[in-house]
Every structure is written in C-alpha cells, then in structure tokens.
C-alpha cells in the first residue's frame, strides 16, 4: 500500500489486535493519528518519507532537566541531543555502536547513544558530558585527570571517553590497569592517547573513591 493508495483500511484485523496493553505512543501516518494498534486503526505500512506529523512526543530528562519534545521515530538519542537540544558534547564517530564517541549515561548506565532509539527514552534520564558537573562549578575529577595526564590529542573521542570512564569507576571496574583497559575497550581513540587515558582513570578513581 503506498501513501497515495486510496483503498480504505482493511479493518478485518482490528478486532483481533484490539488490545490495550499494546500501546502506541503517538504516531501519525498518512494523516491518521494512531492511538493504538486497536480501535483507531492499524498503521499504513510503507509511507515513503517521514513527514513532520509522523513525529511522536517523548518525555524524559536530560542532565536533570525535564523535557517534552517531538521526535522522528527514526531518530537516535545522539541525533536528538546534538541536533535538537544543542548538546554537542557527545560525538558521532561511527553511528553503529563501534567507537564509543557517543557514550552517555541513561538511568545511570553508560550506553551508545547512536544505537539508542530516542523513542525509547520515554520516562528515562540521560546524563551527558555537559551535565557531569554544574555549569559554573569546578571540573569533574575525571575531566581534571584527563587534562593533567594529557589524555587526548584531537579531543574528538574525549567526551565519550570521559563518560565511559566515569561509569567504569562507578561500576567498580577500575581496580587495575588491565581491568581499566578491558572495561574501556568500547572507546576507540584514533589518536592513540590510551596511555594517558588509563593513567587519568587510575588517578580519578582514587579521587572519586572508586
């Protein structure tokens, strides 16, 4: 069925899928707002392009701030942070979960924001490098340690490294150099600043009480 297909929606399936526990969280396609796979209508597959009215509304927190916003169902958390919320700390390195440059925390755990569908953020809380410490406060011990140990060159991977490193310490995975290397292996540094990164984490782990 294409976007222009005028044939009426076949409602024969609707009864069988009239279940309230499968709740559609607000998607509109071909001009019809879907409130569920149930009574209203099932979706028309294969609308050719995203149109603004296809967006869905999500409520979540970013760096402690409650946010309600409209997102394209296809958008990643990374794209929403960077393009819609102007939080450009998290970087897009690979966009496929392979490099760690986009690392942020969701509900206290580090994730790859490029592979996190923004729609999944409903009710959750994200922490980005911008929210690691209050804007006018001192640097986080991990940020300071990265400076002290020259743990970067171009800096592109650094926000992701720092968010991963903070989680690494909080998880209790920073007790030795070998453990740090293993638990930081999801963050690639093209400049090869690894020696400084490991040293910085060892240092900050002490300051952070890890």
């Amino acid at each position: 069925m294409s976007e222009h297909d005028p044939s009426p929606h076949d409602r024969s399936h609707d009864l069988s899928i009239n279940r309230r526990d499968v709740m559609l969280v607000g998607v509109a396609m071909t001009g019809v707002t879907l409130v569920g796979f149930g009574e209203t209508t099932a979706a028309t597959p294969s609308a050719p392009v995203a149109r603004p009215e296809m967006n869905l509304t999500i409520h979540f927190q970013v760096n402690g701030r409650p946010i309600e916003m409209s997102v394209d169902p296809r958008a990643s958390l990374l794209d929403v942070l960077r393009e819609q919320l102007d939080l450009t700390g998290a970087k897009k390195g690979c966009d496929h979960g392979q490099c760690g440059a986009c690392t942020v925390h969701v509900d206290g755990r580090r994730v790859a924001s490029c592979l996190t569908l923004a729609a999944k953020m409903e009710g959750r809380a994200a922490l980005t490098i911008e929210g690691l410490t209050p804007a006018d406060g001192p640097l986080h011990p991990m940020q300071q340690a990265f400076i002290d140990h020259d743990a970067l060159q171009c800096g592109y991977c650094t926000p992701g490294q720092i968010m991963a490193a903070v989680a690494c310490v909080q998880e209790g995975h920073a007790s030795s150099e070998a453990e740090i290397r293993e638990y930081m292996s999801g963050n690639i540094c093209r400049c090869g600043a690894y020696v400084g990164i490991v040293a910085a984490i060892r240092d900050a782990a002490v300051t952070m009480g890890g």
């Binding site: 279940r19 526990d21 499968v22 796979f37 869905l56 580090r110």
Partner: protein, 331 residues
C-alpha cells in the same frame, strides 16, 4: 531509513496478534535491529518495543536450572553471582562480547537473534548476497572469506553466526520458551538457528509472530567446570575469530562428560559431538585435549583465506578444556 511506527508493549498479551496483523518486529535493545535499519538492510514498517514489559528481566537460580528472562541485559547476566559461580562459560561468553556500553543495552533474547557480520551482507546492494537479497548470489564465495564459515556453509551462503552467548548455551543444552499465536513451545538453542542451505535469509525456526520469553539452562554436574575461550584479532571488543565453549564433568582426572561448542567458525552455534565422544572416559591431559581439538576440526571446510582457523581452533579447544578442568571441583 524507512519510516516506521513505534509502539510500546507493557504485556506479552497481544504482541503476536499485532505481529501477525501488521508484520511488526520486536525491538529489544536495538543494537542489532536499529543498526541494520540504519544500513537499510532491515526495513520494518512497525516496531513493538518490548523493553517495558515487567518481569522479563529477572534471573532465577534453581537447584538444577538457571532461568534468564528474555530482557535481562548482557551486563546484568555477566555479573550475576549465581551465573559466575555455577556456569562461568555463560558469564564469560557475555563479558567477552561487544563493549560495556552495548552490554548495558543488549538483551539476552536479542543477542541470540543477532545477524551475521559478513561485510558483503552489511555493505549493501553493490554486492550480491543471498541472505540480504535471495537469489542475488554470494560475494563471499569467491571473495574475502577470512571471516567466513568452516562448518555448515552451503553454495548459497557461508556467513558465520557471530554471537558468543548462543554458543555457550548450545554447549549446555539450553532451551528457550517461546510464545506466539500457537501458544507456548520450548526449543533447543542448538536447533534455534537453521543451516543456510538454499534459503540463507531464513535464519531461525521461530515464526514471525513468536517471542522468546525465557532461556533455560540446565546446570547440575555440568556447569562449574566450564569456560568460554574466545580468540580475537584484538584483546577485547571484537567478534570471535574462533571460540570454544567447553563444559566438563571430571571424576578423578577422568572425563565422565564433555561438552564442546564452537563459535566464529560456523553458520550457526556448532556442537562437536565427535570431539566430546573422543574425550569420554579419557584422562584429561594436554595430549588428550589437543586430540579433541583435532577431532573437532576434522570436518572443517576452509575457503581461501580462513584456513588458519583450523590450527587456531584446535589449540583454542585444547586450551579451553585445560581451563575448564582447572575449575572442576573433583579433578
């Protein structure tokens, strides 16, 4: 990326009905599905996010069985004390996979259903690929096959099943509870994935409207003396070049039971019963372990660039057996 509708399920009831009516796909962590949607390889019109369903994120440790809910994350399972103690092969297969970030996102059921990393499959329409586009051919057969299968391939496809967890589960005779329009059924993990044959695009025996609810692992005498030994191009954060999931039951140094499954070298998780049989009743020493490794790879059918995996895999099996034996309560 093709547009899709996004729905969030709060209970398993009705998911199969939605799936059969609309062709909706289940979304768990999204680390396989969303990744492949970005590449235009998966093009679902509807997603049902199952990660808000309560009760599917628990691990239960019973006397003879570990039960994992489908939505348990890889990181939670890898760190679970009962898993670490009773079946280290399971914990290691997870902690040696992907990265900490991905393990926090990815679920145990989604992990089973991850798709191949064959570069011709992932890189899109400029390459023929029967898995991506049935009937188009297979670029790997005459191509760069360093990462391709030594076991289970066909003239249509030689793509490796890349996961680690399923290999460990296959070694322990694990099963999955599956729920769909036909009700509940239980499948062996070792039979969940199909051989490619002439239809490499059909990867599992699951129906399109079936959802995995639980993964059950019998752990009795077998479990504790086990390991997942994974050889990679780099120390960490890479798929297996070759891996061996091994579990042993030893009695005074003699093998009563051995289980061996291979990863990184086959089109699906690959048990090697001949190697298991070769060990039964033997005293486990380095020579016996190496012989088991040789038997495990006796039927290997390497291509042009992956022949090195025969020697590598033989040694990996032997090393895994020796590591597992060290963990036996009765050596």
């Amino acid at each position: 990326m093709r547009p899709f509708t996004y729905a969030r399920a709060t209970s398993i009831d009705g998911i199969h009905a939605v799936q059969s009516a609309t062709g909706a796909r289940i979304l768990a962590g999204g680390t396989t599905l969303y990744d492949l949607m970005k590449l235009g390889i998966e093009t679902p019109g509807h997603l049902v996010d199952v990660t808000s369903i309560a009760g599917l994120d628990e691990i239960r440790s019973h006397q003879d069985e570990l039960i994992f809910g489908a939505l348990v994350t890889m990181s939670d399972a890898a760190a679970h004390p009962a898993v670490l103690q009773r079946a280290p092969v399971l914990a290691e297969s997870l902690s040696k996979a992907a990265s900490p970030q991905l393990r926090n996102m990815a679920t145990l059921a989604g992990n089973l259903l991850q798709r191949t990393r064959c570069a011709y499959f992932r890189n899109g329409p400029e390459y023929p690929c029967n898995k991506r586009m049935p009937g188009s051919g297979c670029a790997a057969l005459d191509g760069l096959d360093r990462g391709h299968a030594l076991f289970g391939g066909s003239r249509s496809c030689i793509a490796v099943y890349p996961g680690d967890w399923a290999v460990a589960l296959a070694a322990l005779d694990a099963t999955v509870d599956v729920h769909g329009s036909r009700g509940m059924r239980t499948l062996e993990v070792a039979n969940l994935h199909r051989l490619p044959g002439d239809t490499p695009h059909l990867e599992t025996v699951l129906e399109p409207d079936e959802m995995i609810l639980n993964i059950r692992v019998p752990v009795g005498r077998l479990g504790q003396a086990s390991t997942y030994h994974k050889i990679r191009d780099r120390e960490s954060y890479a798929f297996a070049l070759v891996s061996a999931a091994v579990a042993l039951e030893l009695d005074d140094g003699m093998v009563r039971q051995a289980r061996i499954a291979l990863g990184g070298v086959a089109t699906r998780p690959w048990r090697v019963p001949a190697a298991e049989a070769a060990l039964a009743g033997q005293r486990l020493d380095r020579a016996a372990a190496l012989e088991a490794g040789r038997v495990a790879f006796a039927d290997a059918r390497p291509g042009q660039h992956n022949g090195f995996k025969v020697a590598l895999g033989t040694a990996a099996v032997a090393d895994a057996l020796m590591i597992a034996a060290e963990r036996s309560p009765s050596r």
